[in-house]
């Protein structure tokens, strides 16, 4: 079989995406590496196009041999420079990787092949290359031109097999094998894993290592599976002083099961998955605001792993959870960065959309399939059988996905929604019963019909009542608009003297001898004084404001008892201010101070701001025999409505899980340029593996669901291999395929292909149970080996890739931080929910994040709960190769830098934890330094100090104190290493 990418451009690091062209400015020459390219649409030539009369040229006798002689060496079966070949009709016509028209029948001037042969193409490209061969003779080029002009007739018999180009012998695209487990008669083989590993070791002349000591194994298991050190008691109990585990496999098996059942497992391993899918909790790019509701997806991942959700289900939900009743899972689709800065410039808008979709397509291809699909955005993939059409077909699958929040229909919210329906029905029924009581109302028709008074307003309110004798008039204030302190510009009281109404006067004026008092006055304002209440002047500048936003009162004492029948008051009769309006009040009068009689209140007014009458106002007018029942109904209604309001705001929580809409057509974009659309594509997969069979008009959710089903079909050769490899990678530090997200030709092939396939096949058989996979690996002797280096093995396999030992490695940032907190006794195990921020945020258009310098229990949660702000790393631990969620990060690098050392040595965070650890140990062990040292070693290293270590530690503590000792322990290699 012809290998698909037998020889392509050496796609060097950075050159590929950053440095495609080579500009040598000083030399005044611009040499651009251009690939011979063509356009699909030209394959079917327009027969009606103006054809020039041309001499009859035969492909078979003239053109074929010409192309073969001059081009086939680099553009044939052996090599396909630029993805172009002249021996297969379809590709010769269509063009190479960048898909520009090569040959358009009848149209020589549209045929790039001719321009390239003549060196007149705008790219400056000439074929054959100038440094390799002379240009073709003009006569020969003319012959090709004539052939094209005549219709580029190319007999079917000589067309070549176009499908051959889409075949591949890349291992990862081949169906999963069911390898036979090697039958090795060796006591070391405790599991098929061991058989495969031992077979390979033996073939290389290596032998596996002895089993790790019990304490070391316990610590390894905890750090690996939970990201936390085992409590000394666990090490003790499983190992009886650290060694019994050596002899007790059953005990080890119980320990494995206990860590698999521990909630910390999901907290630890969710981080691995979140790396792979570039999960972040801010938008990234220049504005970078926090996404306050992205965390439900993080919790979903934690819970899925802890619940051992079958991996295929986990995948399907993340791609199409909305169609599967798991809304939160689609957080996967929009977990990446999002450029929020929009512009009227259409070029920018289209490119931004392309970038958003590229993020989704690339992540999907990488996370689930281990393929660098994103490489095919601008040209056919340089190494793998992924065409540009495949890329845009996959883009069509996700073309309806948009960034943003969506309501979550969780089981809890479903329940709440059901309750909502129920409540609404109850409210309607109660409302009906209540209204039916209106018939029993007494004569006051206006009130019985719910004709309440106008709501209060800011510019003037009048209380009219039956004439009543009064010496004191009191206003009790219960409520004010905006819950602020109430304001009155003037309180007028009118006497009910006989005669013309115009003669009535405001008897409350100070100048008539009335005195005013109040519960309190807002201090400090000359324009807001108590005396303004009855000074006869209107407006805000002559008003009174209470000193309390709650209850307040105002009292006016008239010089004598006067019969009154009207009170007028306002917030601001000049109409400048509409705030601080009293909305709940009672007016009372008395002739003897203390014997108050209510004359008016807000009870018979419609609510402030409500232009609709209160339909239940009649209740107050009901005769006693009905009033009680009505009040009960009213109370019931209030209760129901309260619950309704609460549920309506809470029932359906929002989360950053994306929105979906039916997309328009998707086109293949020439060189990825949104302004250069080519043919329309339908939603599809990477066709070398399979097809979705969807039309261009397929419904949005159906596209994703079909795609998800295709990914998780048991005959998809990649999905199971990729996840098995990822799990293996985190257990052993390196995957069986070290390029965990590139199973293509540019990746590195597996060290143990049969083992990979066996695990993948078994995973599917075990219902895609990841915990089965963990358990199988953890129970293998391969995993339980010791980590001690052996010179002979190091000489052959320094990277321990063949697993002659357990490969030791530094812990990741999150595990280091969690372990520091755990050992210091400060770890807060609060699980799930809104995360904590490592930054103080300056939230403007552009969000600025400043590292916190103060920490407490809220920040002492596990680091998986640290809100993942893109571009900004945790001040202390970020430098430990923590990804920022900008791009997929399947394999973290593990670098060692002096800045890491400085962070652990000198940061306030670490000093605080060192001191806390010292204090905690002192609380437990008092002044017994030996006991303190032993406990510190047990907590940090799961072992006792040896004599040297004990002596050095005592010396240090003697002279420089316990915090110094703890600071050193928290910086030590052994503490930071998983081995």
């Amino acid at each position: 079989m012809q290998r698909f990418c037998a020889r392509r451009w050496a796609c060097r690091f950075a050159v590929h995406h950053g440095l495609f062209a080579d500009l040598r400015v000083p030399m005044l020459r611009l040499v651009t590496c251009v690939v011979l390219v063509g356009c699909v649409s030209s394959v079917v030539a327009d027969e009606s196009a103006t054809s020039r009369p041309a001499a009859e040229v035969s492909y078979e006798t003239s053109i074929g041999p010409l192309l073969k002689e001059n081009c086939q060496k680099c553009h044939g079966a052996e090599r396909q420079e630029g993805g172009y070949r002249v021996d297969i009709r379809q590709i010769a016509m269509k063009g190479g990787d960048s898909e520009e028209v090569a040959i358009v029948a009848h149209q020589p001037d549209q045929s790039r092949l001719l321009r390239v042969l003549r060196g007149t193409d705008e790219s400056g490209l000439r074929m054959p290359p100038e440094d390799e061969a002379e240009a073709l003779a003009e006569e020969e080029i003319k012959r090709i031109e004539d052939w094209i002009a005549a219709g580029a007739d190319w007999p079917d018999a000589l067309a070549g097999d176009a499908d051959a180009a889409l075949e591949t012998d890349q291992w990862a695209f081949q169906p999963l094998q069911q390898p036979t487990v090697p039958q090795l008669q060796d006591p070391w083989v405790a599991s098929p894993i061991d058989a495969f590993v031992l077979q390979k070791l033996r073939a290389t002349g290596l032998e596996p290592s002895a089993r790790a000591p019990g304490a070391r194994l316990t610590r390894r298991l905890y750090l690996d599976m939970l990201g936390l050190p085992p409590e000394p008691a666990v090490v003790q109990s499983t190992a009886d002083g650290g060694d019994a585990l050596d002899g007790d496999l059953l005990e080890y098996e119980r320990l494995v099961d206990s860590v698999l059942a521990d909630f910390g497992h999901g907290e630890r391993w969710s981080r691995h998955w979140l790396d792979v899918i570039r999960f972040g909790e801010s938008d990234g790019f220049e504005t970078n605001p926090e996404r306050q509701r992205a965390y439900p997806f993080r919790d979903y991942v934690i819970d899925s792993l802890n619940d051992d959700k079958p991996y295929d289900e986990f995948v399907r939900e993340q791609i199409a959870g909305d169609a599967l009743g798991v809304d939160v899972a689609t957080g996967f689709l929009v977990a990446g960065p999002y450029d929020r800065v929009k512009s009227p410039d259409i070029n920018l808008t289209l490119m931004q959309r392309q970038d958003e979709l590229a993020d989704i397509v690339n992540t999907t291809g990488t996370a689930f399939l281990g393929l660098t699909v994103g490489c095919a955005r601008c040209h056919n993939h340089k190494f793998d059988p992924i065409t540009q059409e495949d890329y845009y077909s996959m883009q069509a699958v996700f073309a309806g996905v948009n960034h943003g929040e969506r309501a979550l229909r969780t089981p809890a919210s479903q329940e709440a929604l059901a309750r909502l329906d129920q409540l609404r029905a109850q409210v309607a029924a109660t409302d009906q019963s209540l209204r039916s009581l209106a018939q029993y109302c007494r004569s006051d028709q206006s009130r019985a019909e719910g004709q309440l008074r106008e709501p209060v307003n800011a510019t003037g309110n009048v209380e009219q009542f039956a004439p009543i004798a009064a010496r004191w008039i009191r206003l009790q204030i219960h409520a004010t608009s905006g819950s602020s302190e109430p304001c009155i510009d003037e309180l007028e009281v009118f006497g009910a003297v006989s005669g013309d109404a115009a003669e009535r006067t405001n008897v409350a004026l100070a100048k008539h001898g009335a005195k005013v008092s109040a519960s309190g006055t807002l201090p400090g304002y000359a324009i807001h004084q108590l005396k303004h209440l009855n000074d006869g002047q209107f407006g805000n500048a002559h008003s009174w404001i209470a000193d309390s936003s709650g209850a307040a009162w105002v009292e006016i004492e008239l010089p004598a008892v006067i019969t009154i029948d009207r009170i007028a008051w306002a917030r601001d009769r000049e109409g400048q201010f509409g705030d601080r309006v009293i909305t709940g009040y009672t007016f009372e009068v008395a002739t003897e101070h203390g014997q108050w009689q209510v004359v008016a209140s807000s009870d018979d007014r419609r609510p402030f701001g409500d232009s609709q009458p209160n339909p239940y106002a009649f209740v107050q007018q009901l005769p006693a025999e009905h009033a009680e029942h009505a009040q009960l109904l009213l109370a019931e209604l209030d209760k129901l409505r309260d619950e309704l309001r609460q549920l309506e705001t809470l029932a359906v929580p929002m989360a950053y899980v994306g929105n979906f809409s039916q997309p328009g057509p998707t086109y293949r974009l020439y060189r990825g340029d949104p302004m250069a659309p080519r043919e329309q594509v339908s939603p599809n997969s990477v066709r070398v593996i399979g097809e979705l069979g969807l039309g261009t008009d397929a419904a949005e959710a159906e596209r994703r669901l079909t795609f998800a089903n295709w990914i998780t079909a048991s005959d998809n050769p990649l999905t199971a291999r990729v996840i098995v490899n990822r799990v293996w990678q985190h257990h052993f530090g390196v995957g069986l395929v070290p390029t965990a997200s590139d199973f293509g030709a540019a990746g590195v092939p597996p060290t143990h292909p049969e083992l990979l396939d066996w695990l993948a096949a078994e995973l599917i058989k075990h219902d895609w149970s990841l915990k089965w996979l963990h358990r199988t690996i953890l129970l293998s002797n391969t995993y339980q080996q010791d980590c001690v280096p052996r010179p002979d093995c190091m000489a052959q396999d320094a990277g321990s890739r063949l697993l002659w030992r357990y490969p030791p490695r530094r812990l990741e940032a999150e595990a280091i931080r969690d372990c520091v907190l755990a050992v210091a006794g400060n770890l807060n195990r609060q699980a799930g929910g809104r995360g904590f921020l490592a930054f103080d945020v300056q939230a403007e258009t552009v969000h600025h994040y400043f590292a916190k310098t103060d920490w407490g229990p809220n920040e002492w949660r596990r680091m998986v709960y640290m809100t993942k702000i893109r571009q900004e790393q945790d001040d202390v631990f970020g430098l430990f190769d923590c990804p920022d969620g900008g791009q997929v990060m399947p394999t973290r690098s593990r670098s060692t830098t002096p800045l890491q050392a400085l962070n652990l040595l000198n940061s306030e965070f670490m000093l605080q934890q060192g001191a806390a650890m010292a204090k905690q140990l002192q609380i437990e062990y008092g002044d017994d330094d030996q006991a303190i040292i032993r406990a510190a070693f047990q907590r940090a290293y799961s072992r006792d100090p040896d004599a040297d270590e004990m002596r050095w530690s005592c010396e240090l503590i003697d002279e420089f104190g316990r915090p110094a000792f703890c600071r050193a322990i928290l910086n030590s290699n052994e503490f930071l290493f998983l081995n």
């Binding site: 392509r8 796609c11 060097r12 690091f13 950075a14 950053g18 495609f20 062209a21 500009l23 040598r24 000083p26 006591p187 070391w188 405790a190 599991s191 290596l206 099961d257 698999l260 990234g284 504005t287 800065v341 410039d345 070029n347 070290p738 540019a746 075990h766 149970s769 089965w772 358990r775 980590c787 280096p789 052996r790 990277g799 890739r801 063949l802 030791p808 530094r810 600025h848 430990f880 969620g885 900008g886 791009q887 990060m889 690098s893 830098t897 002096p898 040595l905 306030e908 000093l911 040896d946 050095w952 420089f960 104190g961 110094a964 050193a968 030590s972 290699n973 052994e974 930071l976 081995n979």
Partner: protein
């Protein structure tokens, strides 16, 4: 029993226990050299089909690595003017703009980042011929103009985006998206550093703060964290560099000696020969060296007055300029000390809105550039002159760049220019670069690159080419 517990172990445990000791005690020591080919996964074969990767010793990830061929440049200084510095008010002289000032730009109605265009507008600054080459340079950058004969202008730069964040990403990483390694990261990844007690790669943020794409400009992307820049400037030291004051010096020294002892003991007794552990021990030694060398290199007090004057670091009238000048002196000192890659930022995204603290002159270009010009001009010119007089320019490449250009028109209803990725200017200077030369051109108004159109990729390729 749970679903995942159903797989039985293949082996009888009792038998295992009985045989483990003997089974594992005899370890074959045969060297099957012929089989080593299968181990290439550790070091991917460097054939044409596999990506090339440098071989990096984890104990000395920044050790110098040889270039592919003779390099003209050993070190790089990038002067990055954040906010999109207008080429039309600095380096790209357009007489047509003077002639057609106040008239609409001929051709289609262009809608740019913030919307519609007003009329063509000449620069508020005048252009003069400078040096022997007679290069027309604006008075906004008068001091830099003195060096026009040493510069190699690329007037036909184009970008792929007209938003600052992606634009800075693109210029600094070669990709508009977040998450890719910065130029300095790939350079130090490939070449390491000549210096073992300073970072290989330093980013010097503007005194006013970080640029718009923030740490993306000097991040490691998917490369190991060791290859990202250490960011500090003349006023803000490296974070956590020094022992906190709450710790007495003798306690610190004793603690670190104890730590070293523990680590070495652990290495010897538990994992002899482990390179990663050794690398961590070395990193603490390096950290100690850095604690001495970074303050040394950042200590400008030894700089004589005439140097401070050259850079404008003595300007008491303009403290911002003096602060940037100190950053420029720091850049020179870092290069002198063998730091491979220095990024010097001019302009920051800070509170106060667009263009206030960077080159994003949308609304009141003349007013804002009158602030930014002097901050950049003399200090950057001082740096170039100083490099030149010390002979450092012969193997130091200086790149002046910005994320994109600005429009020849003023925005409708404003007195500033909108974003323009269709044409702008960058220049190079120093190691191996043609002097007093201009490459490419924009159209008669300076709107669009039309002659020898160059991309950011081209610029990066040139930098890499010069580095070998």
């Amino acid at each position: 029993m749970k679903r995942w517990q159903s797989q039985p172990l293949l082996m009888n445990r009792r038998r295992f226990l009985g045989e483990t000791a003997t089974g594992l005690s005899s370890i074959a020591l045969t060297h099957l050299l012929a089989q080593q080919g299968m181990l290439r996964a550790d070091q991917p074969d460097q054939t044409e089909s596999a990506p090339w990767r440098p071989s990096i010793d984890p104990r000395q990830p920044n050790a110098a690595r040889p270039p592919h061929f003779d390099a003209a440049a050993k070190n790089v200084i990038v002067i990055f003017c954040s906010g999109a510095c207008s080429h039309l008010d600095t380096w790209d002289y357009k007489p047509e703009l003077l002639r057609l000032h106040g008239q609409p730009m001929p051709g289609e109605n262009v809608v740019t980042f913030q919307g519609e265009q007003g009329n063509l507008t000449r620069s508020p600054w005048t252009f003069h011929p400078r040096g022997e080459s007679g290069k027309m340079v604006s008075t906004l950058v008068d001091h830099l103009g003195e060096l026009a004969d040493d510069m190699c202008f690329i007037h036909s730069m184009t970008s792929k985006t007209n938003t600052h964040g992606p634009g800075e990403n693109f210029m600094s990483t070669g990709n508009t998206l977040d998450g890719f390694p910065s130029m300095g990261a790939w350079v130090t990844y490939a070449l390491g550093s000549e210096n073992d007690n300073l970072p290989a790669y330093v980013a010097i943020p503007d005194p006013r703060g970080k640029p718009q794409a923030s740490v993306n400009n000097w991040g490691p992307g998917f490369l190991p964290a060791v290859f990202q820049a250490t960011d500090f400037n003349a006023t803000q030291p490296v974070r956590h560099l020094q022992r906190p004051e709450s710790l007495a010096p003798d306690v610190d020294v004793a603690t670190r000696a104890f730590l070293d002892r523990l680590n070495r003991h652990h290495l010897e007794t538990q994992l002899p020969g482990d390179t990663e552990l050794a690398a961590r021990i070395a990193s603490y030694e390096l950290a100690a060296k850095m604690q001495l060398s970074v303050p040394q290199v950042s200590d400008l007090s030894t700089e004589p007055d005439h140097v401070l004057k050259l850079y404008g670091a003595d300007d008491t009238e303009n403290p911002l300029k003096a602060a940037f000048a100190r950053n420029c002196i720091l850049a020179r000192r870092l290069i002198e000390s063998g730091v491979r890659f220095v990024q010097l930022f001019n302009g920051a995204y800070q509170t106060g809105g667009e263009g206030t603290s960077n080159w994003d002159g949308h609304k009141v270009l003349e007013k804002q550039y009158s602030v930014h010009g002097p901050v950049l001009d003399q200090p950057a010119a001082g740096l170039l002159k100083d490099l030149k007089q010390r002979g450092l320019l012969s193997n130091t490449l200086v790149v002046w760049c910005t994320e994109f250009g600005r429009m020849p028109t003023f925005q409708k209803g404003a007195s500033g220019r909108d974003h323009n990725p269709a044409g702008f200017t960058c220049w190079l200077m120093g190691a191996g670069v043609k002097r007093g030369f201009s490459y490419g051109a924009t159209d008669e108004f300076g709107y669009r690159a039309v002659e020898d159109v160059a991309t950011v990729y081209d610029l990066h390729a040139t930098v890499l080419h010069l580095l070998g």
